[in-house]
């Protein structure tokens, strides 16, 4: 009998519900719960929902940084910086906090933690780490990893990373994260024992390799495009901002020369001398004020950098989805071809080319028993394939639901955070303008007394 070959396309719609009864319903409710958790306010102060009782009212801080020397995997001497992580639990009644855990970690351990989270939570936009090497520096800033200013900013960045994890409704529950904060020794081994490296999809690393997806989810395609654009625009912004900082530094510092020359000039003047001298002092004040101003601006740059790296994390989620979709399509395609083969064997028509078919033609027919055997194998494979496809579809829909919930959470967080960053940037500029007005008004008064 003729059987219409199953349309591979139909099997791929992640949104369409498979008419398969209860199991989804169960999963659905669990997913729903997760999604609900995700919609809770994920602010950075560590306050949690009921679900996360063991992390309730926890304060995490990266309080110190220390230079250490040790031996690395190749038994070579190396210098690195270790960071002290302190966890405090806040008592209900009096708001006092008690130190519960305190341990030292280095940057590579933070990386390990994050890589682990990336594998086990592919649908989550995992908070990024502060940059490994100083980038977007303007000339006064050091690009040296050991530079105390860089270390200080990194300390703050790492603390921020942990706070982001702690305030994430899903990630905060992770055991490895918990152990990261509480178990100093052996933690690395514990992580490696999870075998997450094996689970990691190496294809995720090949960022630009294209996998032709026939039926892409438009939302994810748009999101991936957005994350690319966001990365590009923030990079550009950071680069130009660094140049702007450089130039501004130059403008302020040259004014310092006025201080010296006014002083020298005042020495040959009678009535004009005092006014010139005191004005010169204000020029010195002006010139030195730029250091603090630009240091404050680095915080703004760091906030932008966080979202530059967040864009990468967002892209990773889209990529993961793309790969899942691709795998789904491949599996569906494979299933369809097997079904076709089966049908052909059953009906005796050869529509698709197969080596077996050719050899059969050339070297003689196979026996009915042989054919039966083959059909049986194929039918088993088809069954298996259908189960796999079903679970892949399920997986896919689960992924989309969870991912989209986290993406919505992320979007709101991003909008909030960036708005705050822009406001604080404007406040910085206002402060700088007010200082400028103050200094020049003082100088003007001195000039008026000349």
């Amino acid at each position: 009998m003729e059987q219409a070959s199953p349309d591979p396309e139909k099997l791929l719609q992640p949104a369409t519900l498979e008419p398969l009864g209860h199991p989804e319903a169960e999963l659905e409710s669990v997913v729903g719960e997760e999604a609900e958790g995700a919609r809770d306010d994920g602010s950075g102060d560590g306050k949690m929902t009921e679900n996360n009782f063991w992390l309730k009212k926890i304060e995490i801080s990266v309080s110190e940084a220390e230079k250490r020397t040790g031996r690395n995997a190749m038994n070579m001497q190396e210098t690195y910086t270790a960071y002290l992580i302190e966890t405090r639990s806040v008592e209900h009644t009096d708001g006092q906090s008690v130190l519960t855990d305190s341990l030292w970690r280095r940057y590579s351990e933070f990386e390990l933690l994050r890589n682990y989270l990336l594998v086990y939570y592919p649908h989550i936009v995992v908070p990024p780490l502060p940059e490994k090497r100083a980038e977007f520096v303007w000339h006064k800033l050091s690009a040296d990893n050991m530079d105390p200013d860089f270390v200080e900013r990194r300390r703050i960045g790492l603390e921020n990373f942990l706070l982001r994890l702690a305030s994430h409704p899903v990630l905060c529950r992770d055991r490895i994260f918990y152990l990261f904060l509480t178990q100093e020794g052996n933690w690395k081994e514990t992580v490696n024992e999870t075998g997450f490296q094996l689970k990691a999809d190496s294809r995720l690393k090949a960022l630009n390799a294209t996998f032709r997806v026939k039926n892409p989810d438009k939302r994810f395609t748009e999101l991936k495009h957005y994350s690319d654009e966001l990365q590009s625009v923030i990079s550009h912004l950071l680069r130009v901002r660094a140049r702007v900082a450089d130039r501004l530094y130059g403008v302020y510092k040259v004014h310092g020369n006025y201080g010296r020359v006014f002083s020298e000039w005042s020495a040959i003047e009678k009535e004009m001398g005092d006014g010139l001298q005191s004005a010169g002092h204000h020029m010195d004040v002006y010139a030195s004020s730029i250091d603090d101003i630009l240091e404050d601006e680095e915080h703004y740059a760091d906030q932008l950098k966080e979202y530059l790296f967040y864009a990468e994390a967002l892209r990773a989620v889209c990529r993961k989805h793309e790969l899942m979709q691709y795998d789904l399509e491949m599996a569906a395609q494979d299933l369809a071809s097997k079904k076709q083969q089966c049908e052909e064997l059953a009906t005796g028509t050869v529509r698709t080319f197969s080596l077996k078919g050719m050899t059969t033609k050339l070297f003689g027919q196979e026996t009915p028993e042989q054919r039966e055997a083959r059909i049986k194998v194929l039918e088993e494979q088809i069954n298996e394939g259908e189960q796999q496809l079903k679970s892949k579809n399920l997986e896919g829909r689960e992924f989309v639901k969870n991912a989209w919930a986290d993406i919505e959470r992320f979007k709101e967080q991003k909008n909030r955070d960036l708005k705050e960053a822009l406001i604080s940037y404007a406040v910085m500029q206002i402060s700088m303008c007010k200082k400028g007005i103050q200094v020049w008004t003082n100088a003007k008064e001195c000039f008026s007394k000349m």
């Binding site: 966001l230 625009v233 702007v244 130039r247």
Partner: protein, 437 residues
């Protein structure tokens, strides 16, 4: 300038003012400049304090006197100074309305010089003429020639050295106009220079070129006598006060040079800062196009940075047009002052040499020969003029720099105020609760 006699002033005859020697100017009479046949006001009709002094016997040096105004008129000058600083101004000169003239041979700019005066030296109460830079240059040379004992204000630079500056650009012409205006005002304020005949002609003559030609042909006796062909007289030592002035001017010019370099450097850095800002602002716009809720805040920041960029451009333009030229002017001023000091040295040297020669001759004559006396007179007048001018110059310098530096501070304050306003106005926009798209 033909025409109506000034009101209520009786004519004293066919002589024009220019025939009358002006005691303070020390220049002799010259032929009347063409065209002006209006009867001159009565010298005795003192219409201003200045005229009162004309009546003094000492001041009335007959035409053709070789020496410049004698030292006894120094008192008059000081008196004049006080009065000039008060409210009894009687001469106002303005430079404005630059116009470009395109001729077959050349293209040039002229400026309108408007003069308002109640002085008797002017036939009319008001004059309006057009002059070009060449004419100013001529005037300055004439003043240097005819008033060698005085400090002549500087002109803006004749040639544009740096880069490709457009001589006819609005900014350049405006900068020059201001400097030329300042030049004339400084002369106007000077109690001696403002009465100078060449100055008068410059302000009033319809056809200056005619006068120039005539001036070339006539070698004024004053001009001759005043040109010191002193070569070979070496000064033994500068008197203390003039040495001090010399040292002061050296250091002053040095410091001004440094300030000029600093100011230029600041402008350069500000322009480079501006270039980066002009790239920085638009990136926020690009970002805004990607966003939903953040679109307005980001666009707002972009516009804000744009406003700050404009404010910065205005600051750099102002500093270039108003600050730097005045600094340069003073550097030129101190240069010309140093050369006047040197001339003074020559006069002194000549006198000392002649004196020595007489002493060596050991002649019987008890009295000092006339020419040595003249030398002494010349030197003493020069010293007096120079000292008076230095004092005036110091006062003016103080006021000028006070104004200049306060102006610089002001411009910076205005720049920061503009930026402050831009950033403050954006805060409510950033804090606004937006409808999530």
């Amino acid at each position: 300038m033909s025409g109506r006699p000034p009101k209520a002033l009786p004519s004293t005859g066919p002589h024009s003012l220019r025939d009358m020697p002006h005691p303070l100017a020390g220049s002799s009479s010259e032929e009347a400049v063409g065209g002006d046949s209006t009867p001159s006001p009565d010298l005795l009709m003192a219409r201003s304090f200045g005229d009162k002094d004309l009546i003094l016997p000492n001041g009335g040096t007959p035409a053709g006197t070789a020496s410049p105004a004698s030292s006894s008129s120094l008192l008059n000058r000081l008196q004049l100074d006080d009065d000039i600083d008060g409210e009894t101004r009687d001469l106002f000169v303005t430079v404005d309305d630059p116009k470009k003239h395109v001729c077959t041979m050349e293209t040039y700019v002229t400026y309108r010089i408007t003069t308002k005066s109640t002085r008797v030296e002017f036939d009319l109460p008001e004059y309006s003429v057009r002059r070009r830079y060449q004419d100013f240059d001529w005037l300055r040379n004439k003043l240097e020639e005819s008033q060698p004992t005085h400090l002549i204000p500087p002109l803006p630079e004749k040639f544009v050295v740096k880069g490709v500056v457009d001589r006819f650009s609005e900014e350049f012409v405006e900068t020059r106009r201001k400097a030329l205006d300042k030049f004339l005002k400084r002369i106007t304020d000077h109690p001696v220079l403002s009465f100078n005949e060449h100055f008068n002609v410059f302000l009033t003559a319809k056809d200056l070129n005619m006068y120039k030609k005539q001036g070339m042909a006539l070698l004024t006796r004053v001009g001759e006598s005043v040109k010191h062909v002193t070569g070979g007289y070496k000064l033994r030592s500068r008197p203390l006060e003039f040495a001090a002035i010399g040292e002061y001017l050296d250091t002053f010019a040095l410091k001004l040079g440094t300030i000029d370099r600093i100011a230029q450097r600041i402008i350069k850095e500000e322009i480079e800062y501006l270039v980066e800002l002009r790239e920085y602002g638009p990136v926020y716009s690009t970002w805004s196009a990607l966003e939903g809720e953040l679109a307005e805040p980001l666009e707002g920041v972009s516009a804000c940075i744009g406003n700050c960029s404009t404010a910065l451009e205005e600051l750099t333009d102002d500093m270039t047009e108003d600050f730097l030229p005045v600094l340069r002017e003073y550097i030129l001023y101190s240069d010309s002052m140093k050369s006047v000091l040197k001339k003074r040295d020559h006069v002194q040297a000549e006198y000392e040499a002649k004196l020595e020669a007489v002493a060596l001759r050991k002649e019987e004559r008890p009295k000092v020969p006339a020419d040595v006396e003249k030398c002494q007179d010349r030197m003493e007048c020069f010293n007096a003029d120079l000292k008076a001018d230095m004092e005036r110059w110091q006062n003016n310098k103080r006021q000028d720099f006070r104004q200049l530096l306060m102006g610089m501070a002001d411009k910076n304050i205005q720049y920061y105020e503009k930026c402050l306003m831009a950033w403050e106005s954006i805060i409510p926009l950033l804090q606004e609760k937006q409808e999530a798209k």
